[in-house]
């Protein structure tokens, strides 16, 4: 009896000293999460030049028209969006000099007495991934002069009409002088630029129309093209992102110029439609968020009784 008690006591005394052989499950396995990377610097601020606006009317040509004794110097434009931007950089009166003289691709004309024309200088930009890049300068002449009956007398002072309150819109497209339409005696009445009306939608072709719904076959890969328009003119997409639920297969949740490819493998319940909703950013208004949506009905071949 005493031996058994001694043995038990000895056993209890040794139990705490016995090492436990166990395995730490994650001891030799790589961490499931990547190590934290060094913080990346903040992106460079996107600088938007002051006064820049989207071009909706493009420079065509300088026009000199004479009616009776009055000669009008104006500029013709065409209503067209080329995807560029512009801003006013200087407004000059008749005969006044400007730091931009000689830098405009269309030059700055003169009155018959040799004085420089009044008008406005515009700087044109294109929007790149690095921001607004200046590409050219254009001069919009806006002047007139009236000759007296007696040509021998000194020329009367020209009447300068700089466009200080109204801002015509221009584009980087440089056309040769005189390449425009026939001069018109009607003075130009520039219109102030308005913020472009933006809208977005989804098409099933790169240049296809915007669709609100589509019927697709199960198992077929369908390409959806997020599109955007400024004043009904198509503009390039800066990026898109899928907001709604994902179909069975998608090419990506985000993209830029490439389409969104999707495939439905499983048939949805009868009378159930998919709704694809996208968030779209354009190059015209990089900070403006647009949304586009298309409803998709998935169909599959079946026998008719």
């Amino acid at each position: 009896m005493r031996k058994r008690a001694t043995t038990l006591l000895l056993a209890f005394a040794l139990i705490p000293g016995v090492g436990a052989y166990a395995r730490e499950p994650l001891e030799n396995e790589p961490p499931s999460f990547p190590p934290p990377s060094a913080p990346t610097p903040d992106p460079v601020a996107f600088v938007v030049p002051a006064g820049v606006y989207y071009v909706t009317d493009t420079y065509v040509a300088d026009v000199v028209a004479t009616r009776d004794a009055t000669t009008t110097y104006s500029t013709t434009t065409i209503h067209e969006s080329t995807g560029t931007y512009a801003r006013v950089i200087d407004t000059v009166d008749t005969g006044a000099s400007s730091t931009f003289d000689g830098r405009a691709f269309n030059g700055r004309g003169e009155l018959t007495d040799g004085r420089s024309l009044a008008g406005t200088y515009y700087e044109n930009f294109v929007l790149t991934a690095n921001g607004y890049v200046p590409v050219s300068i254009v001069f919009f002449q806006d002047d007139s002069e009236t000759r007296g009956r007696d040509s021998s007398s000194s020329p009367p002072p020209a009447t300068a009409k700089p466009a200080t309150t109204s801002v015509p819109v221009v584009a980087a497209t440089a056309l040769p002088r005189g390449a425009g339409p026939a001069p018109s005696s009607r003075p130009r009445t520039p219109t102030p630029p308005a913020a472009p009306a933006l809208r977005a939608g989804v098409a099933l072709a790169p240049d296809g129309p915007i669709l609100v719904s589509a019927e697709v076959l199960r198992g077929r890969l369908v390409h959806f093209w997020p599109r955007a328009f400024a004043n009904d003119a198509p503009v390039s997409i800066r990026g898109w992102r899928l907001l709604s639920a994902r179909p069975d297969y998608v090419s990506a949740d985000t993209g830029t110029t490439e389409p969104f490819a999707a495939q439905w493998i499983r048939m949805p319940a009868p009378d159930v439609r998919w709704s694809l909703r996208f968030e779209i950013f354009t190059n015209v208004a990089p900070t403006e968020r647009l949304e586009a949506q298309i409803t998709v009905t998935v169909r599959s071949p079946a026998l008719i009784d």
């Binding site: 098409a203 099933l204 072709a205 296809g208 129309p209 669709l211 609100v212 719904s213 589509a214 019927e215 697709v216 076959l217 077929r220 369908v222 298309i294 169909r299 599959s300 071949p301 079946a302 026998l303 008719i304």
Partner: protein, 159 residues
């Protein structure tokens, strides 16, 4: 059994045996025809299903609606011939001839009305009606034609 009864049974058997064989042959031949008709029907079903499983991509991009591909009827005819080839030994003419003579109509957009059958389709549909001549030599014992014509119908739509 007496000797007279045994003779009666033998005579009865001799008389009835040919009749039983004829009936048996007819039943077997009828079963074979039904089997061929079933397989030809399946061939037509599959052909129309394949035909409606392709849509006009231009129309899809333009309007978003499902319109059958322009070659849907040709696709159905082609696949009908391919699917029938497994049944070719039982047929009286070639599968190509059967497929060529089949009345296959494509209704690429909906709704549409099938002038032949009077059926109105709510979805783009391909319809196939074909006459399939089947060899039936067993029917010759019954003084019936050795070729039996069966008519099959199939229609599929994307639903």
């Amino acid at each position: 059994m007496t000797q007279d009864e045994g003779g009666t049974a033998a005579v009865t058997t001799i008389v009835m045996l040919p009749l039983l064989l004829i009936v048996l042959a007819g039943v077997l031949e009828l079963g074979a025809v039904r089997a061929v008709a079933y397989r030809a029907g399946a061939a037509a079903d599959l052909a129309t299903i394949v035909a409606v499983n392709d849509q006009d991509q231009t129309e899809l991009a333009r309007t978003g609606t499902l319109r059958l591909a322009a070659d849907a009827a040709d696709t159905a005819r082609d696949y009908f011939a391919r699917n029938l080839s497994a049944t070719a030994p039982a047929l009286a003419v070639s599968v190509t001839e059967i497929a060529a003579s089949a009345d296959i109509a494509s209704f690429p957009s909906a709704p549409s009305l099938d002038q032949r059958t009077g059926v109105r389709y709510d979805r783009p549909t391909v319809r196939l009606i074909a006459s399939v001549p089947v060899r039936t030599p067993g029917f010759a014992m019954l003084f019936m034609p050795t070729v039996t014509m069966i008519t099959i119908r199939a229609a599929s739509s994307a639903r």
